[in-house]
Symmetry: C2
Subunit: 328 residues, 2 copies
């Protein structure tokens, strides 16, 4: 079983991506990879191994590409596209990339087969683990207009992922909403609430307000792509701002500066927890293959974690299990 | 000019509310209030003054009331309802309450006249001031389904409020969205974008992602009630969680505990900035009168600030200015 790696996607590609591949291969002897990228650039960065295959690709999708759709349609040499084709042709069991979100979603749309009966793709990241709990959220960006039945499919996908890849025994699912009582929210939330409550495959915890997101017992949060994207970006902005304000508060007082010398370690732990770099990656739902989208700002360690996640999902036969559930 | 005060609304009513009234009266000699509540309870809490009038109300809306609509319709003795009637009958120029949001919106609907041409009410809070900047956001909860033309009205309201009450010379307005480019988001965002861009009364900054909310140059963020409520609650949850995690990180190491002794002051400043208690209150848009909804957890200082905000809005003739703009 091999994984396809897009060596050219991400803010720190190819150096940190290659280092991530080296780390992942060193950590797991059963892992094999096919690396897609400019061979003369990436080959010197990779620790030589017979578990690495390199496929030379002349071009790649730039992080700031303004027309990813046009680029992916017209340039079949892109490392991202070539990596997707390897998954489609079963030369690779899954794919890992830190490329631009929109580009990854478009390439997945164009190059991979859909799961049976599915119209919409969804991106499903893991939230910062608080209280020792990893929580999934979907969708966070791929879909802006959403139908209730698509959201039920997303729910089934996430439940399977939590069970078979993250090994959560009875994953609990909450619906992101503006109030906890049934009947809260828009027509969409009310329709989805009814579908979830009626489905025996889902351990439904009801509505969850985002202020309880890090405190609830849920393993999965379900939402439409527009709302999910706003929630993720609000989290990011608030965490970044609080970090900067904390720094400013410390710098403003001499006594705090002295205190800082003692607290450095604790503050570093704190910062690490809210760093997206420490989250393995988001899984893309809807296509016939395991696709892990690592954060664009991924450095080696984060990218290695994303590879490990993809490896676990492939080893668990996760896509086959989702297919069974969706056709039941 | 008098303000109507609901003495019985809020988690810490009536004690902290009364203390807030005392603070506000001491700070501003031109302020006069009518206090609505159970006279035998509130009278002993208020510092005697000829600028206080008490209206005895037998009942009040409990913070956890499950059927605020039914309660407000059937019980005309509620302190909240009586305070609204004082505004309707021009006995008071504005109203301040820390009562439950939904109850306040319902009472405003039932007891006050609408501004001409307006169908929807909106709640418009001030975000935590970062970088010395106060920013407004609306709507954050009163409306779950929203039409583009209502959102334009909300924009005009907020621009007037920023200009005439907060004294911002050229308030800049951003549309909350999942990407910065024009064309991002749902049909709703695209329609609203076109309206805002075409309106000469609005200094439109384009789309703003929530991750830039505390960094942008905007004074006002426009969004529908559902999205705005999610954004506010995500901010609240993230800030609370980060605070708790910081505390845990400090407690986990002896050196950090020592450092904490030196940093206490700086950490207190930091916490204060993200405390909703330090935000004056949200203004309610759509009704013919100034209505300030203080945070339910308001203590005396926060409630006094909410009173001061209402006073400023009444003194600026703010409602008249909005009416002019909406009928132009």
């Amino acid at each position: 079983m091999k994984l396809a790696i897009d060596m050219m996607g991400g803010d720190f590609a190819p150096r940190e991506i290659a280092e991530g591949v080296n780390l992942a291969l060193a950590a797991d002897e059963t892992l094999r990879v096919i690396c897609f990228g400019q061979e003369e650039v990436i080959a010197p960065l990779l620790t030589p191994s017979d578990r690495i295959e390199i496929v030379n690709c002349k071009t790649y999708l730039a992080m700031g590409e303004e027309d990813p759709f046009g680029k992916i349609r017209t340039d079949s040499e892109l490392s991202l596209s070539q990596a997707f084709l390897a998954v489609r042709d079963k030369r690779a069991a899954g794919l890992v990339t830190a490329g631009p979100t929109q580009g990854v979603v478009i390439a997945a749309h164009l190059k991979l087969r859909r799961l049976p009966g599915l119209k919409r793709l969804a991106l499903c990241p893991t939230l910062p683990a608080i209280g020792g709990k990893e929580r999934l959220m979907l969708d966070v960006g791929a879909n802006t207009e959403m139908r209730p039945e698509f959201m039920l499919q997303h729910a089934l996908f996430a439940v399977n992922y939590a069970k078979h890849v993250l090994k959560v025994a009875e994953p609990q699912l909450g619906l992101i909403n503006i109030g906890t009582e049934a009947g809260k929210g828009r027509e969409l939330e009310n329709a989805v609430y009814a579908l979830l409550a009626a489905d025996p495959r889902i351990n439904f915890a009801g509505n969850i307000e985002p202020k309880e997101m890090f405190a609830s017992s849920c393993d999965i949060y379900l939402t439409d792509g527009f709302s999910g994207n706003l929630v993720m970006k609000t989290m990011e902005g608030t965490a970044k701002t609080m970090g900067a304000e904390l720094k400013a508060a410390i710098k403003s007082r001499l006594s705090a500066k002295i205190g800082y010398l003692f607290m450095r370690g604790a503050l570093r732990d704190f910062k690490a927890k809210f760093n997206p770099d420490n989250v393995g990656g988001a899984i893309l739902f809807g296509v016939d293959g395991v696709v892990i989208k690592a954060h664009g700002a991924s450095k080696a360690r984060a990218f290695a974690q994303a590879i490990s996640l993809a490896h676990k999902a492939c080893a668990a036969g996760f896509i086959e299990k989702v297919k069974e559930d969706l056709t039941r």
